[in-house]
Amino acid sequence: MEKQRVVITGLGAVSGIGFGIKDFTDGLRRGASAVSKITAFDTTGFSSKNGGQVHGFEPRKWIKRQSPGSLGRSSQFSVASARMAIEDADIDEGLLSSKLCGVSVGTTDGESQVIDQLTETWVKEGMSSLAPRLIRQVPAHNLSQSIAQEFRLKGGAITIPTACAAGNYAIGYAYDRISVGEVDFMLCGGADSLCRKTFAGFYRLGTIAPEVCQPFDRDRKGILTGEGAGILFLESLESALARGARIYAEILGYGINCDADHMVAPNRKSIANCIRNAHRNAGIESSEVDYISAHGTGTMANDVTESGAIKEVFGARLPPVSSIKSMLGHTMGAASALASIACAVAVKEGFIPPTINHVTTDPECVPDCVPNYARPADLRIVQNNAFAFGGNNCITVYGKLDRKGAAND
């Protein structure tokens, strides 16, 4: 069976730099920063207190068929982003419900903020004080299920908890399902909310920055945890053309692998292999890539290792490489989904999002991290890197649609 080409026709984002694709794109262009003092949990006792918290989120604006209070914060982000993506795709909800639309959402922590809350209650007041309403919110499957319930979708709902690369995994899964004709549409991406557990875990690993995140900078000090969600609406090219949809970009393919080496240390050779897998799956040469959206966490280990892998594959012809984690913090399972959205608008609107907070480039890292200011660029093919604890790597490749001759609007 011939595989169908898959395109992105709707985007939804909840982030610390804006809600919805217009505000998110504006934030990327401006090099906005989501960083503020964390209020989501008590940071007493930690020497670092900043994060990419989302402020001013009003779930009732986007969650219509479920009680927002019945959902944890990550699921609220997830449903809100899905509604934004559907509205952006300009497709009728009834059509989605009557045809086969699936959901795949990646996450690191699911509803960890709820677990934080339950554990605190348990410790301070005992198990009998635990609210059943909160217990029901705990499982991570709520992140995808809540979207399926909100829009009455029947094409399956799956949550993929492959940590910090999970958004790309969910997009890859969705791409496969549409390309083989198993479903008509997919809502896919990632979501996570700030939680004490992840903050503390990274803190104990010595990787939380004191103030800001500075990927590829000589003086970088680590990550800042963040939160948000990014959901993409996917359909076949044939479907998009038939309904006259606006097409942001085509998903050309993706690469996936596992370091099978170390639980937390990134592996240069394995990342290089994943990049090659992605290029092979997308049917492109490395020389065709115009921009790389980096995993770019701002830790010493990641940025040198990722840069080394990029240099190994791309050789002397290094494309610009930037990290939007400098703006958003590390939004965990949402990170690569939000970065994929950034790639899609970068291709569509012709600019490269910057790496902010940049002062001095680390000579061991990539030489051009698009420092501090967005850059106009005609992007034909871009790749989005994502790596995770457990050695889980997933790299997605996006292309401007007309590169293979199809008409664009």
Binding site: M1, T44, G45, F46, V103, T108, G110, I115, D116, L118, T119, W122, V123, M127, P132, I135, V138, P139, A140, H141, Q145, A148, L153, K154, G155, G156, A157, I158, T159, I160, P161, T162, A163, Y169, Y173, D176, V180, R196, K197, T198, A200, G201, Y203, R204, L205, G206, I256, N257, C258, D259, A260, H262, M263, V264, S270, A388, F389, G390, G391, N392
Partner: protein
């Protein structure tokens, strides 16, 4: 598309503690699992119980076929695992540590990775050199079958030629047991070794079963209203058509027997639909049919299909509406 075959199957659960040569004799009801019997004397100190069960189940599966997975390069070996609760005790332990005097200093960096639910799958990847992919799935009750489905799809699309597909759980925390459709049980793990049919034939591997079509759908309770005329029942008909089941005869059916409305509805609809197709559904029993092992339960029951020859259908539901169907055929 490449067909996937099952070349090994193993489990680690209290109801069917396997006997291993050289294993100790401590498998009483209160001490049914000793990791050293399966994993050697050291190396698992910082692993969660679910990871240990999983590694033991994988070890037993690989013992059945010593040439596997070494017959394939590491880049062609993948892992897909389902779990619902593997990380909960670690996550809560983190929170409790932070809330105690001393705060974050109570946390061990060596245990930090275990707070991520994908770690059991990645531990298998590290131990057995599986570099093609490492995937974790988490839908309630159905994640084990979903892992089989996703692994089979990965083989079909050429991302790997060998995969360990399975599920694992630690003890389900008492306060979360209500999220299941039954009483929560202790931990368990189960795994199937999948290979592309051509590759298995090339190396003359023993084939336990051949996977057919698969489907993952979301049919919550309201969609089942109306019985045979319900939207879910009608959608099920289309899926059964797609699965390419045999025209008539007996079909072994593995479906955990938990009391959720969705599960009852699917059972009724399957029985009705299969009968209308001239198929006699013959339910098979697993070691724990009531779903007490969460994501592992459906896989435990699917393994029972391998004990009898002929066509089979493994199905699983969540109380919320997730439905997974996996068809297979077991040669005599």
């Amino acid at each position: 598309m490449t067909t996937a075959v099952i070349t090994a199957s193993a489990r680690m659960c209290r109801e069917s503690v396997p006997v291993r040569a050289g294993a100790g004799t401590g498998a009483s009801s209160g001490d049914w699992f000793r990791p050293s019997d399966y994993l050697g004397p050291r190396g698992y100190r910082y692993q969660t119980s679910s990871t240990r069960y999983l590694l033991a189940a994988i070890k037993l599966a690989l013992d059945q076929d010593p040439d596997s997975p070494g017959a394939y390069p590491e880049s062609q070996r993948g892992v897909a695992m389902g779990t619902n609760f593997s990380d909960y005790d670690v996550r809560e332990g983190f929170d409790r540590g932070i809330l105690a005097p001393g705060g974050a200093r109570n946390l061990s960096p060596l245990e930090a990775p275990n707070s991520s639910v994908n770690i059991p799958a990645s531990t298998v990847s590290i131990k057995h050199g599986c570099k093609a992919f490492s995937l974790t799935l988490t839908n309630p009750m159905v994640a084990g079958l979903e892992a089989v489905l996703v692994a089979a799809q990965a083989l079909a699309t050429g991302r790997a030629r060998w995969a360990a597909a399975g599920a694992c759980e630690g003890t389900v925390p008492e306060r979360l047991g209500g999220l299941l459709a039954c009483d929560a049980g202790p931990g368990a793990a189960a795994t199937l070794i999948l290979e592309s049919a051509q590759s298995a034939a090339d190396r003359k591997a023993r084939v336990l079963g051949t996977l057919g079509g698969c489907a993952a759908r979301f049919w919550p309770e309201p969609l089942w209203e109306g019985g045979a005329e319900s939207r879910a029942a009608i959608a099920l008909e289309k899926e059964l058509d797609r699965l390419a089941l045999p025209a008539r005869g007996s079909l072994a059916l593995a479906l955990p027997d938990h009391p959720s409305a969705v599960n009852r509805s699917l059972r009724d609809a399957l029985t009705r639909s299969l009968a209308a197709r001239g198929l006699h559904a013959a339910p098979v029993a697993g070691p724990a049919d009531d779903g007490r092992y969460a994501a592992v339960s459906s896989l435990l029951q699917m393994q029972s299909l391998l004990d009898r020859s002929g066509p089979g259908l493994a199905a699983a539901t969540s109380p919320y509406g997730h439905v997974v169907l996996v068809a297979l055929h077991v040669s005599g």
